[in-house]
Amino acid sequence: MNNNRRLINSSVEIVVGAVLLLAVKLTGGDSIWLGMGGALIVVGAIQLFLGLRYRADAEYRERTDTEATDERNQFIRSRAWVCAGTGFVIVGGVMTVVFQILGRQELSTLCGTGVSLLVLLYWLSYLVLKKKY
């Protein structure tokens, strides 16, 4: 991502987070919005710090750019997604059966749907990529 865009995005995240916090404070809204606002501020602040460091520190900039384009890193990232996807399908499949046995129909359906959706997305991606390569 372009660094200027990252700086803008992180600033927007901080502002949205602050607005959420303020809105909850003023209206006494749900605490979930409070958590979301706080999380947005923290994530935005970290992104902003990294973006400013990228701009100021030439060595960090070079290291970050190399890491982003490094082919071994890209290979590792792809493999990590493969592992995460496989893990999700296995855990989701097991949980579907376990919840079914425990009589938790809704949770079982939720897990089963999640796994089915992932498998469907895999097949769609496969079909698209098969045409591309």
């Binding site: 190399t66 890491e67 384009t69 490094d70 082919e71 071994r72 890193n73 290979f75």
Partner: protein, 69 residues
């Protein structure tokens, strides 16, 4: 796939950091290549061979029985 990157690099007196910078990859990638934990793409293999003014076959030793990655 086995390779002679470390041997050639040492012979030429090039440091890993210097070599990594010239290849546009991280030092860890060079280290992984040298130990054979990672096989490079054809582009990187070509770039490495060209850096040493050698052919890919002279740097990378292909064995028929090897699995890909």
């Amino acid at each position: 796939m086995k390779n002679r990157i470390e041997e050639i690099r040492r012979m030429r007196g090039v440091r890993q950091e210097e070599f990594a910078k010239a290849m546009g990859v991280s030092r860890q990638t060079i280290s992984s290549l040298e130990t054979g934990r990672y096989n490079p793409s054809i582009f990187l293999a070509y770039k490495i061979a060209r850096y040493f003014s050698m052919t890919i076959e002279e740097v990378f030793l292909f064995e028929e029985s090897e699995d890909n990655r």
